[in-house]
């Protein structure tokens, strides 16, 4: 024998050796195509058309997936940090709270109450205050009812002034005088000429009124525009909200209208005189709020509003990991309020148990399948696939029938005398039931990849091992098993990722101790309507799965995962 191992094989045909040598040669310098351009470049050009064609072929599916899958998921994930509702509903309050020290145990200044009054009034008119109430209720129990009450109660503050102005002059309760006081004469003419067709001429403030009555003008403008756009009513015919009277009082008590000589000057000046008299009844915003709900004069609600005033918040995520935002930064919740950490742990643990049970039950079946003659293997494969052809709900409900205390298994055990009639086993509405049902449901996902990997392992490997002196067990464990590991890996990833997000089965057979994090997400989506928290929990779940996938890739190598071939 010559030094054949290192010498070329002396073969001109395509052999692995020759291919390797050819590849080595190719690395020596840029290979040129016939026209002198680098070969790589002309190859790329040739491949471009092919790539475009491939792209065109997948484009319909890509667009479908983007629109129906990626975009909604992205939107959902965005909800986990989105928090514009506070700053949009209470813009003035958020601005006024800018200097408020949330850590102090004090109630904020009167300006904050004033801002909150205007914000709440407008929000209540737009019926947005209850939504904000629900949002803040996630962070502070009771916020929802506070806001609902306040929506009704803020009217009381304005009515104090409204009533007194009306008593002075019934015109203060009429639509027309207000419109003349505030509106631009051209706008009034246009509004009067409007025949009910098309868009209403948009309300315009009179040029100088904002200087004389800044708050009232602003307030009236908001009212008038709201009437026009939301209600479709003419401001000429609608008496203004009580908030406008409050604003008027504030303007009169601070400003000077004696120089005013526009329309309705006497009416305004008379009101100014009334406000100046000591008999004029006033109420501070703070007292008004206290009257609505005493919680308004506690610091907690203000702290909550201040904490959640930014447009983006980490609050949902902190909630998802049993923490909360405090003025001193994130802090762990009280022991008895922590649920999500436990749920995540339980979801992971049960998914692992389910995956492991699937491996234990699936491996022998996959082994048998891959070693049977194909006619018998096909029959067995049908049995494996049978669950796929049955509705998931039916299978899960069947487990309910099997496992419940008056169910088939307990009846048989009682009949056999193995279990006393009053000591029937509790096998459902707990972790056991969930694990049993989900192992059964996910088993095919374990068997199929295992089978397709095992059926590619030639029997000659095990024979070779035996001929080399290995016992049946050694040849299985040292030769067959390592080659079937990619199948186990693929099946485990599939089953684990499926089970970590499973919802229906734990919902039906899980009771309270057997539910998964996904059930909690579903609860927040459909019952508590706390979508932000649901999105945050979902994001964490997604990140956990991706992290596990990454870890698997690092440890086992994703190239080792084979679903077939």
């Amino acid at each position: 024998m010559t030094d054949a191992a290192t010498e070329p094989d002396k073969i001109t045909g395509p052999t692995p050796d020759n291919a390797l040598r050819a590849a080595d040669r190719a690395d020596e310098g840029p290979v040129l195509a016939a026209d002198g351009t680098p070969l790589k470049q002309s190859l790329n050009r040739a491949l471009r058309a092919q790539k475009l064609r491939a792209l065109a072929l997948i484009a319909p599916l890509l667009i479908f997936v983007l629109v129906s899958f990626i975009a909604p998921i992205g939107d959902m994930l965005f909800r986990s940090v989105e928090n514009q509702i506070v700053s949009e509903t209470l813009p003035r309050t958020v601005r006024a709270l800018a200097d408020y020290d949330a850590a102090s145990e004090e109630v904020p200044s009167d300006e904050v109450f004033e801002a909150a009054y205007y914000d709440l009034f407008y929000a209540a008119e737009r019926k947005e205050h209850t939504r904000l109430g629900s949002r803040l209720n996630y962070e502070m129990t009771g916020a929802s009812s506070m806001f609902r009450k306040s929506g009704r109660g803020v009217d009381d503050i304005g009515e104090v002034y409204q009533d007194q102005f009306e008593d002075l002059d019934a015109n203060w309760d009429e639509a027309r005088p207000w419109a003349e006081l505030m509106g631009d004469p051209d706008w009034i003419a246009a509004q009067e000429a409007w025949d009910g067709e098309g868009d209403m001429p948009e309300f315009e403030l009179r040029s100088d009124i904002a200087e004389v009555l800044p708050r009232a003008a602003n307030s009236y403008e908001i009212f008038a525009r709201y009437m026009q756009s939301e209600e479709g009513d003419s401001p000429l015919e609608e008496e203004p909200w009580s908030v406008v009277h409050t604003a008027l009082y504030q303007d009169l008590s601070t400003g000077d209208v004696s120089g005013y000589d526009g329309p309705r000057a006497e009416m305004l000046q008379a009101a100014d005189e009334l406000v100046a008299t000591p008999e004029f009844e006033t109420i501070s915003f703070r007292d008004g709020f206290e009257e609505i709900d005493e919680d308004w004069v506690e610091p907690e609600i203000w702290r909550t509003i201040k904490t959640y005033s930014p447009a983006f918040t980490s609050g949902y995520f902190l909630n998802s990991v049993d923490m909360q935002k405090t003025p001193d930064g994130p802090a762990l919740r009280d022991e008895d309020e922590r649920i999500y950490g436990l749920l995540f742990q339980r979801t992971m643990f049960m998914s692992l148990v389910i995956t492991f049970s699937c491996i234990l039950l699936g491996y022998p079946i996959a082994y048998l399948l891959s070693n049977l003659p194909s006619s018998k293997a096909n029959l067995l494969m049908i049995l494996v696939l049978l669950p796929f052809w049955t509705s998931l709900l039916v299978r899960t409900s069947a487990w309910k029938v099997m496992l419940q205390q008056q169910g088939v298994i307990n009846d048989v055990l009682v009949w056999l005398g193995m279990v006393a009639d009053d000591g029937r086993l509790v096998m459902i509405n707990n972790q056991f039931g969930t694990i049993v049902a989900m192992t059964h449901i996910l088993l095919p996902f374990m068997i199929l990849p295992m089978y397709s990997v095992m059926s590619t392992i030639p029997p000659s490997y095990v024979r070779a091992a035996k001929s080399l002196g290995a016992t049946n067990w050694t040849s299985f464990w040292r030769v067959y098993f390592p080659q079937s590991v990619p199948g186990i890996g693929a099946g485990s990833i599939l089953v684990f990722i499926l089970s970590i997000g499973y919802y229906i089965t734990p919902e039906i057979v899980g009771g309270t101790s057997g539910i998964f994090i996904s059930n909690r997400i579903a609860y927040h989506i459909s019952s508590s309507l706390n979508w932000g928290l649901a999105a945050a929990l979902g994001t964490i779940l997604l990140v956990v799965v991706l992290a596990l996938y990454w870890a698997y890739d690092r440890i086992v190598g994703i190239d080792n995962v084979k679903l077939g071939g």
Partner: protein, 384 residues
């Protein structure tokens, strides 16, 4: 080594018949039968004796039972009936891993998840051989097949020929006395195969191991083996040294299966000791050696190798029978000329002549006369 070859040659003549009293047989099949389905016998009454150190090839078309025989010897199939003995001891009930037989598989069956060194060390590990001993033996085995530098690689990183060498080294590393090879060169290209044929026989003779080699490639069988067992229909049709097999086939299957062959059918007209006269179906008379014919009037099929047909009448014996032939086709093949003739109504009669300076090139359409030495033409069994 030399005397081992002589010994195998000695046995050649007599071993076709069952001989269970043969005491120095190393591998012995004794009336072995095998059926997979209980209806058909895949192996029918197999008797075979192999002395130590012999290189025996089982040759036959697919489905002839040769691989089944190998698998029974390795222990992966059990014999339905009969005994298989190794070194005098029956091994029917010994599981494969205790038989101590090395085996090389068709697709090498190198464990893909182990390096080359781990593959080689595997049979030693399961035999609980110490680490340092293992390393020495692995190194020696790798050096033996000239693959010493490849211990750290994985099988997939080697070419077919290199994998083949490793498979061989792995089958030999635990020093078995018997090595089975199941078409080990089937996946290699032609030139590499020829090189490996030489390497395997060289190694086998150098180490003095007994080899049972299965192939369907007759060239491989003829060039490598001490003896060849030609399988067909579950039986050994002939067990003989390569030259014997080629030149003196015992029946028409062997004659057809080994090498190129011209056959003609006819009836025995005369038997005179070592020669006989056969009348072909179109009336022509030829000389032949009676092999499977015993009496005048019997139907027979005569067989003659293309290179033994003589076109030069001067070289024939006095009074030899000749046949008329028409040249149909002449093919120049370099070292030889291959001429196709019509002889006795058979269009496929081929003769091969050496490309020598004085050799005539037969033009298609010419009429010639052909003949042969009587011992080159064998009167075999007639087809049923």
């Amino acid at each position: 080594m030399e005397d081992k070859r002589n010994k195998s040659a000695e046995i050649t003549g007599s071993s076709f018949l069952p001989d269970s009293s043969h005491t120095d047989a190393f591998v012995e099949f004794d009336r072995v039968q095998k059926s997979y389905d209980g209806v058909q016998l895949v192996v029918k009454d197999l008797n075979l004796n192999m002395p130590k150190g012999e290189f025996l090839t089982m040759l036959g078309p697919s489905g002839s039972g040769k691989t089944t025989c190998l698998m029974m010897l390795a222990g992966f199939e059990t014999a339905t009936h009969g005994d298989i003995r190794l070194d005098g001891k029956p091994i029917n009930n010994i599981p494969p891993h205790k038989r101590g037989i090395g085996m090389v598989f068709q697709n090498y069956a190198l464990f893909p998840h182990m390096t080359i060194a781990e593959n080689l060390s595997f049979p030693l590990e399961v035999r609980k051989i110490g680490k340092s001993d293992r390393e020495t033996k692995v190194k020696r085995a790798l050096d033996m097949v000239e693959m010493g530098a490849f211990g750290g690689r994985r099988p997939a990183q080697l070419s077919g020929g290199q994998q083949q060498r490793i498979a061989l080294a792995r089958a030999l590393v635990f020093e078995p006395e018997l090595v089975l090879m199941d078409e080990p060169l089937g996946a290699l290209d032609k030139q590499l195969r020829e090189k490996m044929q030489f390497e395997i026989t060289d190694l086998a003779h150098r180490l003095g191991i007994t080899v049972v080699y299965v192939t369907h490639d007759q060239t491989e069988a003829l060039t490598m083996s001490d003896r060849v067992a030609v399988f067909d229909d579950g039986r050994i049709q002939q067990l003989a040294a390569p030259d014997e097999l080629y030149e003196r086939p015992q029946n028409s299957f062997v004659a057809q299966f080994i090498g190129e062959n011209n056959t003609m059918e006819g009836t025995v007209r005369e038997i005179k000791g070592e020669t006989c006269v056969v009348q072909l179906d179109d009336g022509g008379l030829i000389d032949a050696v009676p092999v499977n014919v015993t009496k005048v009037g019997e139907r027979t099929r005569v067989s003659i190798r293309p290179e033994r047909v003589e076109i030069n009448k001067d070289r024939l014996q006095e009074g030899a029978h000749t046949l008329k032939a028409e040249v149909l086709e002449f093919v120049y093949m370099g070292d030889i000329f291959r001429t196709r003739l019509r002889v006795a109504g058979n269009d496929e009669f081929v003769i091969k002549t050496r490309n020598a300076p004085d050799q005539v090139r037969l033009e298609p359409g010419t009429e010639i006369e052909i003949g042969w030495l009587p011992e080159d033409c064998r009167a075999l069994d007639a087809p049923n």
